[in-house]
Symmetry: C2
Subunit: 201 residues, 2 copies
DNA sequence: GGAAGAATTGAACCTTGCTTCAGACCTACG
DNA sequence: CGTAGGTCTGAAGCAAGGTTCAATTCTTCC
């Protein structure tokens, strides 16, 4: 046995892997999923196409990771924003989460469009479902809290949450797919969400 | 000149064309867009693969027509349902349109999923946007009427309409993608839409 | 330095399914 | 009938892009 992986090699590989994920992410941010090819990722990461396959078994798996990471980033940001407002009111907390999500989406429209609505392969599609679901779950628990606090009327929290996520998606999709910032829709969207939550009877 | 298209030939061709569109539509209803290949359409329509290209320049164009037809059918059904309730109240009219849409969607889940959310090619994707837009437009004008009638508070009708379409989509997507009927979500969804429209102050 | 073995390269390969097209078959009309 | 021209067939062609792999380069350790 004349060769054994050393610490340095492992570290270098980890960096390469990360560079690949970063390159793929940047490609989605810049061009959308449609503009992503393995060759393109390789070029941007400065590795050979074949090298990607040392770290990921397929294109689907690579981009599933890209999406998963992006999703978790967004979910954390939104739920943090919600948590910060929790002291004032449950309503405000929900609206803050929604607003944060929208603001961030408008900052990377291509990525947001990819996460929300762009056609992608099945493996990646699954991550998108996770995204809608995760975000919906955050809202749902906030909604449950708001109901308990008597701030909004009794309702099916899961449906309301899914409805809000859907409303955000559809309202943003057109602006986002154009690369437009769609800044002016935000107030109206927040008003919509506010009404959809309802007022205590 | 020893040949000139006769009435009978034209008629036969029109029938063939229609058979192709019908076969393609049935395929989407049965298998979703993912299960549609040109060979499959040809088999089902009992023509040769090549014959399809006598009527449609590409797969995208064929399915764009399939989607366009399906969309207009749904839009007509929903707006009719809305119009029928218009005498009672503008609110009721909007809710009737939404309910009709959902009920019909649940009857052909694969087609509904394809129209709402399934990954498709760009040409067909455009039709999907038209779908969301058309449905949104119907709701928007009903919403404008409701505002004018003082039944709901002043609001950006376009955003509310888009929000409602999005909410419907997202609430239905999970059930639909599973082929589930999702019957129990309808009341909660209608309640959501009702709240989102708002009550006069 | 050199042998053993791992990582990396990138051009060739392969798969999938849309599209084409040369030939067979019809239809119209003299 | 015959011929001119259209229509239909379905297997072959082809494009795009993901994946593979023989050759090369690098890493470890004696």
């Amino acid at each position: 046995m004349a060769y054994r992986k050393t610490e340095a090699v492992l570290k270098k590989q980890a960096m390469t892997r990360e560079r690949i994920v970063r390159a793929a992410t940047e490609l989605v941010v810049d061009e959308g999923y449609a503009g992503c090819s393995m060759a393109g990722v390789a070029r941007r990461a400065e590795v050979a196409t074949g090298s990607i396959y040392q770290f990921f078994p397929s294109k689907g798996e690579l981009f599933a990771e890209v999406f998963r990471t992006a999703v978790s980033r967004e979910v954390v940001a939104a739920s943090q924003a919600g948590a910060e407002k929790l002291t004032s009111s449950a309503r405000a907390s929900i609206l803050a989460a929604v607003e944060t999500f929208c603001t961030r989406a408008m900052r990377s429209p291509k990525m947001a469009y990819a996460l929300i609505a762009e056609p992608v392969d099945p493996l990646v599609e699954a991550e998108r479902l996770v995204f809608h679901q995760s975000f919906s779950d955050i809202l749902a628990s906030a909604i449950v809290a708001a109901i308990a606090a008597g701030e909004i009327p009794d309702q099916d929290a899961g449906i309301t949450a899914a409805g809000i996520v859907g409303a955000i998606s559809d309202v943003l999709v057109l602006p986002l797919s154009r690369g437009d910032t769609g800044e002016k829709v935000l107030p109206a969207l927040l008003a919509f969400v506010g009404r959809a939550l309802g007022r205590p009877d």
